[in-house]
């Protein structure tokens, strides 16, 4: 197949008309398909079914004379810390075990920074003007929304195959108004790639003018590999410690995509001195998180090895969905109209198409009954400056629906490209 930009006008028109006929047929099918959100599908949820009927007995909830059914223990059940320490390779004394939402832990940390400041802050952030935040693009809309709502100016830095463009990040960090950066370091949302060792080291090492600069290290897909041979992410805590910058790292993770979304257990990990500073503030806001759900997760996940087995069971469902999507996308190979990521884990594929085409593809898909993530959602303020990125979330639909949605996607990408080239 020739590149579209090498086709003659006549060839383009002919191709367009042919594709349009097929597309119109799909439109007549009144489909209702959804590729928009990174939600697990029912089959994945069924894998954790036994957690829903797992009984807790005295042996589980009475520990060293402490009755976990009662109030107390703000920072989480010790065995939950051990489990996450084991899974994530983070020392136990760095770990705070939270509730059902790591996003909430992130939000809470930053709103406490606004109201009271962080450990190394000179004042509460709400007493400073013109604060900025680094957003790697494309990235996770809910991250961007938190810092937007808290009043930060969002500054975009491009994602490369190795992680954020570090020259740009290092330049921005020299601005004392820049207070932090959002990172999804492994199987990044939505590009699916993992930060290289060099990028992790540079983040850990870089000079930041703000004494309270914050790396929000959302390791949401820490163990969400498709195979035993997943991407390896350098440990940012040991790197940061080497350079005396440990306090800048706040790591987050959860079991939302290990057991049940929004009904799992979340953690925040940060230096013991950061924890010592922040815990009294947390203790004002709650007596503690749900320890019984922590106990159920300990009983269900057991240890890192068993959790890995759980992830491989989930991967046996997720991986084929990525293969279906990538196989459909391969039809765009060599046309010069699209590039996409081929991740080894996580929940997303990022599809870059011709500049100025993403909204058009969204519209074509919508007319054919397929919902995509809103165009621009992966950019600060919901605006993709080049209008070219689409986030694909293959996990939620059933395989047949996914195949159909991908065929329509490929058709729509082709149609939009031809429309554009015919106009130029």
């Amino acid at each position: 197949m020739k590149r579209y930009d090498e086709l003659t006008k006549f060839e383009r028109e002919k191709l367009y008309n042919n594709l349009k006929l097929t597309y119109d047929k799909f439109c007549e099918m009144n489909l209702k398909l959804d590729l928009s959100r990174g939600k697990p599908n029912m089959g994945q949820l069924d894998i954790s079914e036994s957690l829903l009927s797992m009984p807790l007995t005295k042996e589980d909830y009475i520990c060293n004379g402490v009755d976990y059914r009662n109030y107390g223990i703000l920072d989480g059940v010790p065995k939950a810390k051990e489990l996450f320490s084991d899974i994530l390779n983070i020392p136990k004394d760095y770990i705070f075990v939270g509730g059902n939402s790591s996003l909430q832990l992130m939000y809470d940390l930053l709103s406490k920074a606004m109201l009271f400041g962080l450990k190394n802050s000179e004042r509460p952030w709400c007493k400073e003007e013109g604060l900025k935040w680094i957003c790697i693009t494309p990235g996770y809309d809910r991250h961007f929304k938190i810092t937007e709502t808290l009043g930060f100016e969002l500054v975009s830095v491009k994602m490369t195959k190795d992680g954020p463009d570090m020259d740009e990040v290092e330049r921005l960090a020299l601005d004392p108004k820049v207070k932090g950066i959002w990172c999804v370091p492994k199987y990044s949302n939505p590009t699916g790639n993992t930060y290289s060792n060099e990028v992790v080291t540079r983040l850990a090492k870089m000079k930041c003018s703000a004494p309270d600069f914050c790396i929000m290290w959302d390791n949401a897909y820490a163990i969400h590999d498709f195979s035993d041979d997943g991407d390896k992410l350098l440990d940012i805590f040991s790197e940061a410690k080497k350079y005396g910058n440990e306090d800048r790292v706040y790591c987050f993770s959860s079991t939302s995509k290990v057991t049940f979304p929004g009904a799992g257990v979340s953690i925040m990990a940060t230096s013991p001195s950061n924890l010592k500073y922040i815990m009294p503030y947390i203790s004002v806001s709650t007596i503690g998180y749900d320890k019984l759900n922590q106990l159920k997760h300990i009983k269900f996940l057991k240890d890192a090895e068993n959790t890995h087995n759980q992830m491989m069971k989930l991967a046996s469902i997720i991986k084929p969905k990525f293969e279906i999507t990538l196989s459909a996308l391969s039809d765009l190979n060599g046309l010069g109209i699209a590039e996409w990521s081929k991740p080894n884990g996580g929940y997303f594929i990022s599809l870059d198409i011709l500049v100025g085409s993403a909204k058009r593809v969204y519209e074509l898909m919508k007319n054919a009954g397929v919902t995509l993530t809103s165009v621009g959602a992966t950019y600060p303020y919901g605006k993709d400056p080049e209008d070219k990125n689409l986030r694909l979330a293959p996990t939620y639909p059933e395989n047949e629906d996914l195949s159909l949605a991908c065929i329509i996607l490929v058709l729509s990408v082709k149609l939009s490209a031809l429309e554009k080239l015919l106009k130029d």
Copy 2:
């Protein structure tokens, strides 16, 4: 028995020496008893044991085609709203169902008020100077701590047998710097009494200069009666609606003392227009709360009637503990050295002793191995200006321990009173 202030010096000395002998014997027993926190005891927790092994099946978690095991539904499972509406007599569309902690919902609301303002705010509260908050004393330490930490000046208003001194509350509400008031309207922590109809109406009706004045209505003990004949609390929402002041009321409750402390379900109830304003802010901070725990609670508590039965089972354990405490305290009757509340529900008894004696009693108790709630904890900034209030929490200890602790308490109150009178 004569009043202590009518005893001669000789009688006082003789009595003191006798009591001191007994007290010293208790000190030799190396006791370790705790009357300090409003924690349920193990027997209460056992009543909810079946909740710990309650399985959720497809019938529970699939509802109208929605799979509650997955992400979604920020404001809570509809059936959870129905349950709380049924239990608390609040319309469904006023109810937001949260996570395991109502305290966290309170904190989150006020920190959002600080950062963004409430529906009727002119600006975020953090942009205003010199804000004040009304604290009814004695009251709940964790409430006071939230507004203290957020930077409010805490203004004390005395609790009467009918609720807060409303003349004083109305006077303070005319100050535009006064942004709100903490209330535990039923079985108040720690006095155990319930606001009279007149007090509820006056709170609903009063003129507030701050357009965003907030009544934080922590109805923690809404259904925590000792018998079928519990206190009746007037519905503040209907009262506030009559006077066009509905937006000032934020009601909170939870199942922490219905099922498991810190592992139950919490709610915030407020006017639909307040909810409409605040929900977008909540949606930035979390994808949603733990719906599976909501489902388990729906299955366990079923409806208002069954929940009432649950409360009566709990009361069968709690009421005897209050009776033990009150029976011990009755030994202080007629001595002119103590007054205390005799609540019909809730978790606390408030004991007022001679001015300037509370710290001394705390010390005497501590030396005898009994922990009381820190003196002053029930006052803003942890300081009881008259040093005379003690909060008794009878629920946690076993009955034998409680009896012993109460005997030592009565001894300590007598000793401290005699010490004081002998000095004067």
